[in-house]
Symmetry: C2
Subunit: 200 residues, 2 copies
């Protein structure tokens, strides 16, 4: 640079080179479902399996997003939409970096999920509907949130006082009232194998 003209240096480490070295394609596994449906449990269990298969992965969830990248956002409809938009952008960047992104957010609105899908190259967005009845989720109430929502202590709680729009045509549906964690994980891994995401 001192001795030569500066040439605009574009990226030489491309997504393709990363994917080739990693031995798998990068995709986004977008888990959506009610609070307590099992999104976080399943996304981490799928990640463990993928990691054991040698894949590069990362789970985005409330723990690492809500207190960091999106800490300026609340739970109004507009803020929920912006929250999902940012998560979509970060998942997209992860894919460019060769990483299989797993996202575990209620993401209740079809339109928000569809925006993320349409912002990505075809085949990158894999919507996983973590299906579980409201009754069952409320019975589990792992975090005690349904109780609080019923008591009116949490405004706009999905399933109680705010809508959840189930995916119409998700790539994968995991019914956690029917299937064990192990079965669900195998369904996801099997899907990724048939789609050529896992190539080794």
């Amino acid at each position: 640079m001192a001795a030569t003209n500066v040439v605009w240096h574009t990226a030489t480490v491309t997504r393709e080179r990363r994917e080739q070295r990693n031995g798998h394609r990068a995709v986004t596994l977008w888990f959506t479902g009610l609070s307590g449906s099992g999104k976080s449990t399943l996304s981490h269990a799928v990640e463990e399996s993928l990691f054991e298969l040698g894949c590069n992965t990362f789970v985005f969830d409330g723990d690492n997003i809500r207190f960091g990248l999106c800490k300026d956002l609340g739970f109004s409809d507009a803020d929920r939409t912006e929250n999902i938009r940012r998560i979509g952008e970060v998942a997209k960047l992860s894919n460019q970096a060769g990483i299989i992104a797993l996202t575990a957010f209620i993401s209740p609105f079809c339109s928000d999920r569809d925006l993320v899908r349409s912002s990505m190259p075809d085949g990158d967005f894999i919507e996983i509907y973590v299906k579980c009845s409201l009754e069952k989720c409320e019975e589990r109430d792992v975090k005690g949130l349904y109780k609080k929502a019923r008591e009116g202590k949490i405004p706009a709680f999905t399933g109680i006082s705010s809508p959840y729009e189930a995916p119409v045509n998700p790539e994968i549906c995991l019914d956690t009232e029917l299937h064990s964690i192990e079965e669900s994980v195998q369904m996801v891994i099997g899907y990724l194998q048939t789609k050529g995401v896992l190539t080794k």
Copy 2:
């Protein structure tokens, strides 16, 4: 899940497991400097070297951030600060994912950069001052932005009509009026070797 109580499933794939498998630590190489100083060129050149050494890397720059994650932000002081905050959060997530994040943004304010530094574990934030005189940057004017700024067509342009606060005590200083790209890359790689970031 069907047959058992749902247990809150925490992450089993930790940063430590990723780093161990990758054979290197994850850090953030934060390139800062005037427009035209060589941030983007150097960050991509360092990435190429790191990739060839087998590292997992990703460069965040205006191309992949300004039109995506931060497309809602402009160039006011407040928006610049929020821009840097989000980039810091994304770099931090990348580090958690085992990736060496390289960021190439002017990031003109010390306070913004220091906020990112203080939000990260000790040793993760490596500030790289890409040093080049305003005169030289303006002479290069790779993107023709200085000309436009001098003509008053770009408001608040760093170095012309908006301040640039050089790092006081950066981990690495690369003077692109003195050193070639190759020399600069070797300085960064050498630093990462002495600090044990590169372990193989």
